[in-house]
Structure formats: C-alpha cells, structure tokens
Homo-oligomer: 434 residues x 2
C-alpha cells in the first residue's frame, strides 16, 4: 500500500445517496482500489466537502465555445438551427491551430471547473487551413492533456455536404477522406494518445454527411475493434425529411435496419425520433445523448425523455456547443423541460422515485458508459475521477445530507464546485488560475 492514497471527504456519493466515513483508496495508476470504512488514517482529509463521481460530457464540440454570445441577433425575424450553422461555419473558416488550441483549453478548463472530468469530443473539424494531414486531431489531444481533462476523441467520418452533395466552403475542413483513410488516421492516433487519460472512438457525423455504405463500413469496423460509435441523429425536422427524400426512410429507421446496434452505439439528440423506431433502437442496446442547453439554444424541440426512460433507454448528457458549460443546469433542465411539457414533476427518477440518484447516474455513469470510459462512479477498479462540492457554499447552506444532492442539482451551479480530480490527480481548484 506504499503508493496508495486514502481520500476522505465529509460526504461521499455512493450512487444511492451521500454517506459519511467513506474512504477512497487510490492507487498510483490513478484507479480506485477500495471504497468503504477502511479504518486507516486518510492521506487527504477533505473538510467541508462532498465527493462525487466526475461528470461526463458525452458530446462536445470544444471549438464552438468561440461562438459564445454570438449568432444571437435576428434582424430578419426568427432564426433557426440553420442560421446558427452559418455562424458556426464562419468560425470554422477563421480557425487555425493556435486559436483552436486556445478555445479547447478554455472549454476543457471550464468543464473541469464544473465537475466534468471526461469529455467526448465529437470531432469533425479535422484540418487546418493548409489541409495537410489531420492537424487538428493532435491539437485536441494536446489541449486535453494540458488542461488535464480525460478525453474520448470521437473522430468523425465526414465525406459529403448533404445527401449526395459535395463538400462546400468550410466543410472541406471536415473531410475525412474515404473509409480506409479514416481508419488509417485512427491507427496513427492510437500511437499518439496518452493511454492513461485518452481513448479513441468512432463516429459518422450524420446521415447527411456520409453515404449509407460508408456508415455501415465505419460502424462495422468500430464494432470489430470494440470501439464506441456515435452519430448525430434527428435533431432537426428538415434533416429527417431530406433523409426520407434521399433514402426513403428516416435516419433512425435506417440505423436500425442497416446496422447491428449494441450498447456501444450512442445516438445524439433524437429530438424528433418516432417512438416506435426509438423503442427498436433501445431494444437493440442503443444509447441516447441529450444536450439540454444546446438543444434549447438552437430551438431544436423537446425529445421524448419519458418514452426513452419508459423503454429502459439509457440517457447521457452532452454540453455540445458549449455556449454554456454547467452540468447542474444541464441535468435540471433535462428534467424541467419535461415538467413544463408534461405538466408533471419527477420524470428522471430512480425506482424509488428519487431525482438525484437518477440525474447523477445520467450525468456521470451513463456518460462514461457511452464513451467506453471506466469511470462514472466511486467504485473499486474505476478511474479516480471525482469532484467536490464546498459544503460552506452559500447556495448549499442549511442543506442536510438527504437534500444536498437535490440542492446542488436544482439550486446551485459550478460555483459550489471546489476541486476536480482526474485519474487521481487534482487538476483544478477553485481560485487557482491554470
């Protein structure tokens, strides 16, 4: 046990609630060795702190933080997802490696400050101006390593600018080449990643950005390699209609018909997915990633969360455009949007009707599972990825052990996060500049 540290906070999240007197033994490999009343003096006694499993953003485009506060003027009347996409393409055209690195560092550090320890970077902006190699892939890896956040890099296959259309304008910066070139670059990246904190996943940007043949090839190979696979799906009604026009079926129907979906498959958004197709996707093992703040900002619509949960579907959270990064806000509005549309309270709850265990599961456990990352709970064998809440924070005053989790999730924000740990290393502390 010479290299083992014992961390003990006042309160530790067990998955079921907060408990006192829980010690967490962390090995020098950055993994949790033991959890419980270990009866040894703690190496690190975290006073006035509650320890929670690190949150996971299962779907992020870090560079889009550069659009924060932009694309929000509507001189011609109402805007849409598509007018926002024009602004995003404008940012893409101006992007170089230096700016991308700065934006990624900013996004990743802001994630850490909110208790997010892992980001799933759905990475389609692959090329610098010169378009030599996939220069931006390594920018993401380096920025994540510098910030200290755990990264699953979900490189996107992207080969067309719409159903049957060539890449145009800024879209040439997304080109992944043919499927062979796609996997060749992933093979290269596998030699470049920091295996302690980084992993690779596969993705196809969307059905509008690849042919059905490419989709099947990339997905099949990702399964053969045991990698997770992510895809944007049915965020906007227009893209569903375009898909029906091109392929005589909606995107989700195509996925379920053409692919052997399993628990490594995550469909991002599913805002307008037909309930029957959703049920079929869930039965095959598929997961759903919801991005409450981004979907609200973009005016996407309201996903059928009660239907997904009713079919025992597994939901995780993405900070997506990173226009705002706040996991407590993402989680409460996952629930609140449903309360507003259904006029009932208590949608995302566990079997006992409790909100906090269900929301923390969504925010941490399911996100980690969607990325194939061994974290998302404070349990032996998993990465030591945590964050703490400051029990003296004014927003949490007078909470008892029973209401603390709900008080943070519904009544607070990242301001109450005191420090964040990735792989056993405290990589962010409130009040310290990076």
């Amino acid at each position: 046990m010479a290299e083992t540290r014992i961390i003990e906070a006042d309160l530790t999240w067990t998955g079921d609630g907060f408990a006192r007197g829980v010690q967490v033994a962390v090995g020098d490999d950055g993994r949790i060795e033991q959890v419980g009343a270990l009866g040894v003096p703690p190496t690190e006694r975290l006073e006035k702190r509650a320890l929670l499993p690190g949150m996971v953003s299962a779907h992020s485009h870090a560079f889009q933080i550069g659009l924060r506060g932009m694309g929000e003027r509507f001189p011609g009347g109402a805007g849409s997802f598509w007018t926002w996409r024009d602004a995003m393409y404008g940012l893409v055209e101006l992007m170089d490696a230096k700016r991308l690195r700065r934006l990624c560092l900013r996004a990743f550090r802001e994630m850490l400050s909110q208790g997010i320890t892992t980001t799933g970077e759905f990475h389609y902006l692959r090329h610098d101006v010169s378009r030599a190699g996939f220069a931006f892939d390594e920018v993401i890896l380096d920025a994540a390593a510098e910030a200290g956040v755990r990264l699953c890099l979900l490189c996107s296959h992207y080969s067309q600018g719409g159903f049957g259309k060539p890449l145009l304008g800024g879209q040439v910066r997304f080109a992944s080449g043919d499927v062979e070139a796609y996997w060749k670059q992933l093979d290269h990246l596998s030699t470049r990643i920091d295996a302690h904190t980084q992993s690779l996943g596969a993705s196809v940007h969307s059905l509008r950005a690849a042919t059905l043949e490419e989709l099947a090839l990339v997905h099949t190979e990702s399964k053969r390699r045991g990698m997770v696979f992510h895809i944007h799906i049915e965020e906007q009604r227009r893209e569903i209609q375009q898909c029906i026009d091109a392929h005589d079926a909606a995107p989700m129907a195509l996925l379920c018909e053409r692919l052997e979906i399993d628990e490594r498959f995550t469909a991002v958004h599913c805002t307008h997915t037909d309930p029957t197709e959703m049920e079929r996707f869930i039965e095959m093992g598929g997961r759903v990633c919801i991005c409450p703040l981004t979907e609200a900002n973009l005016g996407d619509g309201v996903a059928d969360v009660p239907g997904i949960l009713g079919s025992e579907g597994r939901i995780c959270i993405g900070t997506d455009s990173n226009a705002r990064i706040c996991m407590a806000e993402e989680l409460r509005w996952l629930e609140y949007v449903q309360r507003l549309s259904g006029e009932e309270r208590g949608v995302v709850t566990d079997d006992a009707g409790r909100l906090a265990p269900a929301l923390i599961r969504v925010g941490a456990t399911e996100g980690a599972a969607a990325l194939g990352v061994e974290s998302g709970a404070i349990e032996a064998g998993l990465h030591a990825d945590f964050f703490t809440l400051d029990l003296d924070h004014p927003t949490l005053a007078e909470c008892d052990d029973e209401s603390l989790a709900e008080a943070w999730l519904l009544g607070s924000d990242g301001g109450a996060v005191a420090e964040t740990c990735v792989g056993g290393r405290w990589v962010w502390r409130r009040g310290e500049s990076p």
Copy 2:
C-alpha cells in the same frame, strides 16, 4: 458637486448596448444625477468591469429558499404543484421569526450576489406561531435592510383557504383579517419602512384566497393610493376550473370584468391564460410576471410569451420560490423554453431583433416598473442600483463589446458578478462574507 461621486467602468450598459467612456454621477441621496462623457476624473474607476442596471425579482417568496432541494422525491410516481404545496405548508408550520429572518437574509444576499438589487416580496406568511399582530411583516423589512437589498413589500390579502373555504392548518398564518384590517396594517408599515430603500405594494394572494368583493375593495384602494397591485393568476389548470365552478368565469376574465386594470397591475404566471383574455388584460395596461425557474420546477406549463409580446405586453421576472436564484438563468430560459416549444430562435427580442437589450429590459426595467420602483436603467433621476460583471471572468473570455451581454445572459451566471450597488452603496462584493 461636493457630495457627488463619479463612477466609471470600462463598459456601461446604455439600454441599447455597452459603451465605453461613460461616467455615472451619483448624488448623496443615492440617485443618479448625470450619465455620459462628463469629462471629470472618476471617483471610482472600475477596471475590468462592465456596469449594468440592477436586476429586479418582481415576485419572490424569500422564505421558500428553506425548501431548496426538498420536495423532490416522488415515491408514488409523478408529483405536482399541489404535492409541492404540501411541502411548503410543512415549512410554514415550523416557521418562527428567527428562522424566517435567517432564510430571508440568505435569499436576499444570494439575490445581491446575482446582480439583483430589488426584490418584490409577495408576502403572505404574515404571522408567527402566536399570531399576534403581523410579526413577520417587520421581519422581512429588517432582513432586507440588513442585507442591503431594495424591497417592495407586497403584503397579501388572504382570507380563505380555497373558493368559499375557511383557512385550515398552516393557512391561519396567512390570515390578513378583513379589508379594513389589511389597510390598517399597511398604514402601520408605512411608518416603519426605510423610505430610501423600501416601499409598499398591495396584493391579493389569488382568486382562491379571497372573495371577489375583497379583491375589488383591495384593488380600488390600492389605485386610490397610487400603489402597485400584484396577484397570482392561472398558474395551474386546476385553480382555473375551481374558479369557473365557483364564479362561472376564469380568473383572468374576472379580473378584466371586475377591476379597472392599469399599468400598476401585475398578474403573476398567466401560464394557462386564454389568449383573448390575455389580450384584453394587456390592452387595459396590465403587466405579466413570469417565473421561469419556479414554473419549470413546479411543472406548471408553458406561458404564451410570443402572444404576450405580440400584443405589446410587458413581461418581468420573478425568482418566486428561490429554489434557485440566478437572473441569467431565468432570462435565458424565458427565451429557451419558447425556442423549444416553438422550434424557432429569437422570441424575446427588441425591434432590431436583438436578444440582450430585450432580456435586460425584462430583467431590470420592466421589473422595476412592475414594482413602482424608480430604477431598472442607468439614467439620471433613477436610484443608483447597479451590478458589475468581471471582464476577466473565464466564462466571458474573448468576448468583444458586442457579444458580452449575450455571452453573460446565455453562457454564464452569477459567478461573473463582481459587486452590487443599491442606492449608491456597494452592498455586496464577491469574495467578501456579509
């Protein structure tokens, strides 16, 4: 000018956007004397700060902060507004003056930390256990004075426990007596308030809590006195049906038929108001207070904000239950809930299609107007009620002058608020304990 201070931040909100080089002259009466390029050296040069008008919570029940994180377990399946009300009544039965004072101080200080300089306390919990006098009225006044927040105390007339029902259980702590007793207590309070930072308004809790005769009497007298008048209205479908059963008309229809509504009248919630009745109310001059976080938490439903704005209705914001206090989150979700339900972006915008000037107007200017408080903008003659944003805050990094307001409203929170000023006095600074 001996007693005049000159405040100059890097950026100052003009109502239309941020401007540089703006000086704000504040007199020793706590009011703004002049605004512009005054050509004098500033007394207070606020470096790396943007100065904005103080936000207004036009509808708050401060004591309900004691419920934060509670009432969020649903063992019997979904909950409702009414199960939440049971939890609130439980809190009421345990309340004494000491606890009320502590909860109010906590709520008011948290408001100041979020840039809220004025609270409209919709005050219906009037009595301590003994029920002697209206002991809790003075607790609110004293706590607001101690915290330093500007207060409009909207004392509620409350005489029945439902349409034609007696007060039961905790409701006896709400009893205001007959209309004569109601005004007698307001006369007493008018001698007790600190006229520099406190004012009085009238309210009837709701149509279920008073007779129509009492409603008309209280409203008529409030008009005679030139006071603002507030009432809860049509938050829940059940109360609308009960009102129709009791009075053969929906609450809003009754208001418009029975009362001479004008611009001093604020209807709180209007979640399920019939569009025709809403239009009539707005034409008479009535205002609407929306409480996005509370209405979402309670599962009330989605108010017709586009309809209200389309009729040129004036909307203000209330933090209501104070389960979460964050003005940026209230304002963005006022817009976001509409984006989700209407699948369009840009609902709460000014004539030029801009979001920030419209949202800041809702959050500050319209809230002040609804409370009859002379604040809500940085203009000569108004109270010197401000807050500042820290331009070095990580969430606002890389913003330009044009995108800063949207970046704060959509991408940040109270963490970026640096200090708050009420009546020319800096009453809250980040990092300083009260």
